[in-house]
Assembly symmetry: C2
């Protein structure tokens, strides 16, 4: 038995689990929430541009609770892969969620954060000072239209690298990253690469995620329509993206490519009309992942004295919208409590 | 027969018609659209804090077309009162709409624009250079929950003054304004006053209309919830309002009162949870009135070199949202035409 990664099992996690098991170097335990019952009973139904059609596919272990190493007397996992959304403004935090599966004072388990946004590793540094933490930047197109039914229509491209953490010799997480890349690539169906430049990867993806993602959510226009709406590119999208490019440079010396703004605007074909994740979440009444995608780059940029007027207002709108979602879920009090 | 004002007959227009007829100095012709059939057949059903309960009330003349002076060989009206929404970015413009009822080269008919926003008189200046134009700023709380059913829950407070127009001796529209105030006040049920300071009135109302109105529409939080949502007042509402206060000063030397920002935030009782008009329109799938409420003060402020970063982004979001509404009404092309 090889190392044991453990992705969460949503649309991204399911494909990660397939990749890892298909390569034969990993035994995967997945932890599922809303789709646990159907996947546990019948397995996943997967239509994948990388893997073809898989009916009733199951990873080695399917669970509906996060393994508790102490209470269940389990040996530590080699890898824990977190591919939930990251919503630090709504409890429980991902640290609280995953803590029972991470050994506290050991560097045996490596944590891969297969999540978007900036500074997502920070909440783990204090409670898990000895855990090597990796960054995963996924370019996959994958959705779960109904529980357990995974449609992957865009090839899995994954960049894995090491987050710098003050306590640990950087060589350790780097080696783990390379090992995980090998396991992930072994099946031969995916483009998984080691990245020495985690911050560059993250800021580059923020050109989309801090900008088009909230803009589409707030305006209700998908990433095709926002290109058609008169003035939206010049009035909203380009100014926001330029702020991210400037912040990347000022905050961490990350020089994004000259054409990154136009390339990001045109990342999807003109007539594909795709809804970015935040727009999808908003339409479904789910919480939006705006703090790490938008709030952190904004705060970092402002700290580095980069003018961020566009992202500032988008952030404040997103925050107000999140409050509204919190109300629908009973997380905030509305005195007099009139209906929404 | 006295002078003949002619309000449009929505929620604001209906109460204006009642006020004018009740005073006995006016004979009112109303032009109705969606509620024409029911009002023409059965009259209005009005529940009014000013006028009590009026069942089957009808103004002197009810029409479903704008009177065409030439084709119908009608004498010019003394007053034409426009109380439609003002949506210059969607044809027909209000000028096109009202033109048949206005004599072209006469100053006999006075036009009252009972509408919100800035520069609403400008489109009339060239086609109707001799028409005295008045500004109406209404503080009424009135709605039309179903066609012809008017609920007025907040007293009618109306400020009427003269827009300055280059062609006409200012004394003329000022006299007309005073005459109209008299007609409007005669019934004794309303607080209608002559205002010598039209620009002050308009900028003061913009503190609400350029700020809370689009912010509530964009975030989906009503004017009570926006006060509860953490950070929304300091992050969005106050910055936007301060930009309007600065623009009022820089653009036309209008010095708004020290406490105008806080007073506007708290204009409604804490637990009343009212949806501003733009939020209501958005929820109903109607066009939003953002160009004169938000676009014009923004453009004027920027021309006067006032920094307007908050209103700029709110404007761009509103514009993108309007484009989406245009798509639902078939006014813009979406190549490949996927469903919304």
């Amino acid at each position: 038995m090889g190392p044991v990664p453990r992705p969460c099992g949503g649309a991204v996690g399911a494909i990660a689990a397939v990749n890892l098991e298909v390569g034969g170097l990993a035994t995967v335990t997945v932890v599922l929430r809303s789709n646990y019952k159907v996947v546990n009973e019948k397995g996943y139904t997967i239509e994948s541009c990388d893997h073809g059609s898989l009916k009733g596919w199951k990873p080695s272990v399917v669970r509906n609770t996060v393994p508790n190493l102490t209470e269940e007397n389990l040996p530590p996992y080699d890898y824990v892969i977190l591919c939930t959304k990251n919503i630090p403004d709504v409890p429980p935090t991902v640290v609280d969620l995953i803590a029972p599966a991470l050994p506290q004072n050991s560097s045996k388990t490596t944590l891969l954060l297969l999540q978007n946004g900036l500074n997502i590793e920070r909440p783990f540094l204090r409670p898990f000072p000895n855990t090597p933490i990796l960054s995963g930047i996924s370019m996959i197109g994958s959705a779960e239209p109904s529980p357990g039914h995974i449609v992957q229509d865009e090839s899995d491209k994954l960049l894995i690298g090491a987050f710098p953490t003050s306590n640990i010799n950087p060589a350790v997480p780097e080696r783990r990253a390379e090992e995980l890349v090998e396991m992930y690539s072994k099946g031969g169906k995916t483009d998984c690469q080691y990245s020495p430049n985690v911050l560059h990867d993250r800021w580059k993806k923020l050109v989309f995620n801090a900008c088009l993602n909230p803009i589409c959510a707030i305006t209700g226009l998908d990433d095709g329509r926002i290109r058609l709406a008169d003035g939206a590119l010049d009035g909203l999208v380009r100014p926001a993206m330029r702020e991210i490019v400037a912040a990347a440079k000022a905050v961490c010396g990350v020089q994004l490519a000259e054409d990154v703004v136009e390339a990001t605007i045109n990342v999807d074909p003109l007539e594909s009309y795709l809804k970015p994740s935040m727009q999808q979440d908003l339409e479904k009444g789910n919480f939006i992942e705006f703090e790490n995608l938008l709030g952190e780059p904004l705060r970092e940029g402002k700290d580095a004295r980069v003018p961020m007027p566009t992202l500032e207002v988008l952030y404040q709108c997103a925050k107000a919208i999140q409050w509204r979602i919190k109300e629908t879920k009973g997380l905030v009090e509305v005195p007099g409590n009139k209906s929404v």
